[in-house]
């Protein structure tokens, strides 16, 4: 009686078992990644995927059963995303990120890094000079929430106390450090995300950040606490400011490729720059985390200025060596 059946019916009857098999494998892989599959299942998957693809082509050509083609389309799409999806596992990906992707992404941004460093430095110098002449400028550069009492109205003694915190129990400084970390990370994300607007908001954020740094420094220098404040700021600042400068650089690279896309279309150029900058940005969050730890714990435990300076210089050198040490390009 087989000849009474439609060709498309027979076509389906012959292949249905394979499709079902692929479906169960997909459900397994989607639930927990390809690592959930056994070795023979792993080998089976691409074969079944290609079979399903050719079934789809045939079904489109000979079958008028729309539920069948819809099913095959969905099955092939799901299989396609698994077969051609990301293949590395999380530990490998993390290792690759720290070993190669992140430093290479930062290296590729060296021009933008230089620009955002110059912007921040100029802003810091301008703020330093202005606050040095007239302490009222301080309030234009520093948000009151971040100053937390360290402003020109404070006495020299209380300013000195903020630099050498003696581990009193009635103070939530580690909370404050965590707050600073999340605050800085949000600022860095903004500097990155706003970059595509032709770089302007990123530049503004960098100038504000640099200005704040300069104003703080000027305040402490005017009380004769310049050297001490430098150690207090830089123990984590060398990491943190570097991170924010890198975030600005990432934002700039996107804005720049939107302005001057070259041979490619603007969208393609932005997408390419965006992906590279995103890798650098993921690293920036890591750097800010390190800075937060240095700030919250290192600064509380280490009270000597010279050691603070030593840690600041050492961490800066470590970051520079890590990022800019020549690496072979990816094979």
């Amino acid at each position: 009686m087989a000849e009474l059946h439609l060709k498309s019916w027979r076509f389906r009857a012959e292949r249905e078992a394979d499709w079902r098999r692929l479906e169960t494998l997909l459900a397994k892989a989607e639930a927990g990644g390809a690592s959930r599959l056994r070795r023979d299942e792993l080998l089976e998957m691409p074969v079944l995927y290609r079979q399903a693809l050719s079934s789809l082509s045939v079904a489109r050509a000979i079958s008028l059963d729309q539920s069948l083609t819809a099913y095959l389309e969905s099955l092939c799409t799901r299989a396609y995303f698994i077969v051609y999806g990301a293949r590395t596992r999380l530990p490998e990906r993390i290792a690759r990120f720290f070993g190669r992707d992140w430093p290479l992404a930062v290296q590729a941004l060296w021009r933008e890094t230089l620009v955002s460093f110059v912007l921040s430095a100029v802003a810091a110098i301008v703020a330093y000079v202005l606050v040095g002449r007239d302490p009222d400028w301080f309030h234009s550069f520093v948000e009151p929430g971040l100053a937390s009492g360290r402003d020109p109205t404070a006495t020299t003694a209380s300013l000195r106390d903020t630099l050498y915190h003696q581990g009193g129990a009635n103070d939530a400084l580690s909370v404050f450090a965590t707050f600073l970390f999340t605050h800085n990370a949000q600022i860095a994300l903004f500097a990155f995300a706003l970059g595509f607007l032709l770089c302007l908001p990123t530049a503004a954020l960098l100038v504000m950040n640099g200005g704040m740094f300069g104003a703080f420094l000027a305040l402490f220098v005017s009380r004769g606490l310049g050297f001490e404040a430098g150690g207090w700021l830089m123990i984590h600042g060398s990491t943190e400011l570097f991170a924010i400068i890198l975030a600005g650089a990432a934002g700039f690279s996107i804005g720049w490729s939107v302005c001057f896309p070259g041979e490619r279309s603007r969208v393609d150029a932005a997408a390419e720059a965006g992906r590279r900058a995103a890798t650098a940005m993921a690293g920036v969050v890591v750097m800010l985390f390190v800075a937060g730890i240095l700030e919250g714990f290192g600064r509380q435990l280490i009270q000597a200025d010279l050691i603070r300076y030593a840690i600041a210089v050492a961490s800066l050198l470590a970051w520079l060596a890590y990022f800019y040490w020549p690496r072979r390009p990816a094979p």
Binding site: H5, L56, L75, F81, A271, A278
Partner: protein, 301 residues
């Protein structure tokens, strides 16, 4: 070079008119088959976002309550400090990594997207990488948080004017997906990704089980089968699968008059429709095999 030639160089290349966007996008696999992805609609994506935010803020609120509860129970000074740190870090991680972790996983979708049958895909059909996911979610800051900040900000005088200007400006990011093909938002553009429909479809039984029909002795003449084309066949398939009694009765009545049905009259509507569907599909499919696709009933080609 003549003036015409010089001018010709600066003239814009003639614009290639793209066909109007119909919500589908081609995605050709390395094997050369076009998978035809459906781009996620605005409503679905918005619903997915809402679900995600409900989950995110719900769990953050729960987390905060838990932290408060622990604080209230211990009342220790060190406890409050550690709790503060944990709470701040938890909120930060949740806010920034909720989307990242889910979209970098094997399903490439947050719970909200999954419930709407959506997933993230690379726009060029290639592999979706972690840095793409990071980029598209870092841009969320600008697309969601910035407009919200402006809309929730309060000020007077010049401040109010500035805030309303900022709100207008940030609105550009919100409505951005309305003005491009593939409905990509800014983060999608920067990351080179898009959100597509990837529903799980269940394989339904084949309606053209001709063996059963033949045993019931229902047969149609070629003239009766020539009444309809592929479009009508697909509508008929939908009607039978929906299995709505009244719709089936109405459709069966129409088909009976159209083809001048003179067979048994006591046939159930469903049986009749099934039989006609199978016979029509058989006829149209054999025509397809001979290279003729009859689009609809008006196609007399």
């Amino acid at each position: 070079m003549s003036l015409q030639g010089v001018l010709g160089r600066f003239r814009r290349a003639p614009r290639v008119r793209k066909p109007p966007f119909d919500g589908w996008r081609e995605l050709v696999t390395p094997e050369g088959v076009d998978l035809r992805l459906k781009v996620g609609s605005y409503a679905e994506r918005f619903a997915a976002l809402l679900i995600d935010y409900v989950i995110l803020f719900g769990s953050l609120a729960l987390f905060s309550l838990l932290a408060l509860g622990v604080f209230w129970a211990t009342k220790a000074q060190w406890g409050s400090e550690a709790l503060g740190v944990v709470w701040l870090l938890g909120v930060f991680l949740g806010r920034n990594f909720y989307f990242l972790i889910f979209e970098a996983g094997p399903r490439a979708a947050t719970p909200g997207k999954r419930s709407m049958g959506l997933r993230v895909a690379a726009a060029d059909g290639g592999r979706l990488t972690a840095d793409m996911v990071f980029a598209r979610n870092a841009m969320r800051e600008v697309e969601v948080v910035l407009p919200l900040t402006f809309f929730l900000a309060r000020g007077e005088g010049v401040d109010a004017a500035l805030i309303s200007l900022g709100a207008l400006w940030s609105l550009v990011f919100v409505v951005f997906p309305l003005f491009n093909r593939d409905r990509r938002r800014l983060g999608d553009l920067v990351a080179g990704t898009m959100v597509v429909k990837a529903p799980k479809t269940v394989l339904q039984p084949d309606l053209a089980d001709t063996q059963r029909m033949a045993s019931q002795g229902i047969a149609f003449t070629p003239a009766q089968l020539d009444a309809y084309g592929i479009k009508e066949l697909h509508v008929l398939e939908d009607v039978i699968r929906a299995a709505d009694r009244r719709a089936m009765a109405e459709v069966a009545a129409r088909i009976r008059t159209k083809i001048g049905w003179d067979g048994p009259t006591d046939l159930a509507d469903r049986t009749f429709l099934n039989a006609y569907y199978a016979a029509l599909r058989g006829r149209l499919e054999s025509q397809v095999l001979f290279g003729r696709r009859r689009k609809d009933k008006f196609d007399r080609g």
